[in-house]
């Protein structure tokens, strides 16, 4: 890697007591969290939770009402050569429609004092070289996202911040993005990705920061956030002798419910225990599946009642 001059610690993002009060709404409310380098951090929240406002305050585009947000210990506005430290992808449609992709990047290179050749390299990095001389208005949504990422990578930054990068990408594009961002984190960079696509985040993120109504709901490694909700985990059981098994399980003080397909949903005991009970009762089992808590369910439970629209 060519950016060895940055120590890993410079890539840490620290948001502290961040608040943004608009006329009628407190978009971000005393929000604090940290984002570590070398990991992909998913920034999750319902629509209107304040994700975009937070990212924009972090990048000095929106002035906070209170609190601070720093990258590597400094405010974005105080970074010299910000593009060499931080790359950001904020909207898909952020290039002049009549300008070619390569010229869009050259304009940024000129302003940032980066060599012109970086434009070609960044375009190649995201696989857009064949469309270099096509005008932006002719780009598909996926190509626009890739161009945005190319722009963010121009300065080979230690920190990458992306707002809803998966929007408008096809499955192939999403898979490419996942690999790309994981690769960057693996190189030791900080990757902060906002999204509301929870299944995608479960595949991509190492850590999550969940906010709702401008406030922090939960922060931590994905497994830990999932684990905190796993106590209520159930086991799905399929058997032709449902009644006998239900009786036997209830004797072990398990809770048993039956769903509309006749499957048993058992909680209070784990799968091996259910297997032993079934064996002892000579009950035939066709399926025994622990339900893994997924991010989507955890997310919905955590943010329940904190409506996105305020």
């Amino acid at each position: 890697m060519s950016d060895g001059q940055w120590s890993p610690s410079t890539g840490q993002i620290v948001v502290s007591g961040l608040t943004k009060q608009y006329k009628n709404v407190r978009a971000v409310d005393n929000l604090s969290f940290t984002v570590e380098s070398g990991r992909v951090t998913g920034f999750l929240g319902p629509n209107g939770a304040g994700k975009t406002t937070t990212l924009r305050m972090l990048l000095n585009l929106v002035t906070p009402t209170g609190g601070t947000a720093t990258i590597g210990g400094r405010r974005y506005a105080d970074l010299t050569d910000p593009l060499r430290h931080v790359g950001a992808v904020l909207e898909a449609s952020s290039a002049h429609k009549g300008r070619t992709g390569i010229n869009h990047l050259r304009v940024i290179c000129a302003a940032a004092g980066l060599p012109r050749s970086r434009a070609d390299e960044a375009l190649a990095l995201v696989g857009l070289t064949p469309a270099a001389k096509r005008k932006f208005k002719g780009y598909s949504l996926g190509m626009k996202q890739r161009l945005g990422i190319a722009a963010a990578m121009l300065g080979n930054p230690q920190v990458l911040i992306l707002d809803e990068p998966a929007n408008g990408l096809d499955p192939e594009g999403i898979r490419w993005m996942r690999g790309f961002l994981k690769g960057l984190a693996h190189e030791g960079r900080t990757v902060l990705v906002s999204s509301h696509l929870l299944s995608e985040m479960q595949l991509l993120a190492d850590d999550v920061v969940i906010i709702a109504a401008g406030k922090l709901i939960r922060q931590g490694p994905v497994e830990q956030v999932l684990g905190s909700m796993a106590q209520g985990g159930r086991v799905r059981v399929r058997t032709p002798q449902a009644e006998e098994l239900t009786v036997a399980l209830r004797e072990q003080s398990a809770t048993v419910e039956t769903d509309e397909h006749g499957l048993l949903l058992v909680s209070g005991v784990d799968a091996p225990a259910i297997g032993r009970v079934a064996l002892a009762a000579k009950v035939e089992l066709h399926e025994l599946t622990p339900e893994r808590p997924d991010l989507e369910r955890v997310f919905l439970e955590l943010t329940a009642g904190k409506a996105g629209i305020r």
Binding site: T52, T53, R56, L59, N60, L61, V62, T63, Y76, A77, L79, P82, L83, A88, L90, E91, S93, S94, A95, H96, K97, G98, R99, T100, N103, R106, V107, I108, A110, A111, A112, G113, A151
Partner: protein
């Protein structure tokens, strides 16, 4: 310097500049025709009875310096509007295409960005002035010779008017940038700019003459406060009786440009980009 280079690259890599250049050509030709006819008429004293109170002004306009200054600054009326619109677009296209986010991410120092935009718009305006002036030197010499007054290219008044014309181009582009910041909507800013320029010239002239008839002649001097009238006053080749002095036009226009540029820059510094 990087920033100005980037801003000029932004202009160069879109089609706006040459479309506006193309629009300028027929407008230049139109004013050239009008100026030729007017010069011909003034030089040959060929316009019937003149009311006594206008005789002084006509006489001043008939002076060789005035005629020459007028033809060598041909195309100014629309040219100034074009560079003002370019100034507007330099700013509003950033909002229209949502590139302002990228711009301010690249350079968080917004004052520097605005200064670069002002500089780029000014460079563009001076280029427009330069090309127009080259055309005018050929056309003007032709017209002046055709009315037997000689090219007058040795006259200080001609070069003074040409230089002031350049200043007018520069100042109007700066005004355009200011308007663009204050009115972010591309269409809104463009319409406002055109109304200010065209409507300002015609409407204010009418309003002032009505007010002057009611309240007295001193109100006539206020027309220098109208930007478009101020700039035409500034480049007029000679002092015209009954009009404020030329330097007043320059001062007013510079004042507007500085105020528009300063307000624009200060506004941009505080604005949330979302």
């Amino acid at each position: 310097m990087n920033l100005v280079r980037s801003e000029l690259l932004k202009i160069r890599t879109t089609s706006t500049w040459w479309i506006f250049g193309l629009i300028t050509v027929p407008l230049w030709a139109l004013t050239a025709l009008i100026n030729w006819l007017q010069t011909d008429a003034l030089a040959s004293n060929n316009f019937g009875d003149v009311p006594a109170e206008q005789a002084d002004q006509i006489q001043a306009a008939q002076s060789v310096d005035s005629l020459a200054a007028n033809v060598y600054t041909n195309g100014q009326f629309f040219g100034l509007m074009i560079v003002m619109l370019l100034g507007i677009i330099v700013v509003t296209s950033e909002f229209f295409h949502q590139t302002v986010t990228t711009t301010f991410l690249t350079v968080p120092h917004r004052t520097a960005v605005m200064l670069a935009k002002l500089a780029a718009a000014a460079v563009l305006a001076v280029l427009f002035w330069l090309v127009t002036t080259v055309f005018n030197l050929a056309f003007g010499a032709l017209v002046m010779n055709s009315v037997d007054l000689g090219s007058q290219l040795g006259s200080g008044a001609v070069w003074r008017a040409t230089a002031l014309n350049g200043l007018a181009y520069l100042l109007w582009s700066v005004l355009g940038v200011g308007i663009g910041v204050l009115i972010r909507s591309q269409i809104g800013a463009t319409v406002t700019g055109i109304l200010l320029y065209l409507g300002g010239a015609v409407g204010a002239a009418i309003a002032i003459s009505i007010l002057a008839a009611r309240w007295g002649d001193w109100i006539n001097d206020l027309q220098v406060l109208v930007p478009s009238l101020a700039s035409s006053l500034m480049v007029s080749g000679t002092e015209i009786p009954g009009n404020p002095p030329r330097w007043a036009g320059a001062v007013v226009l510079i004042g507007y440009a500085v105020v528009a540029g300063a307000i624009g820059t200060l506004t941009m510094r505080r604005r949330d980009i979302s």
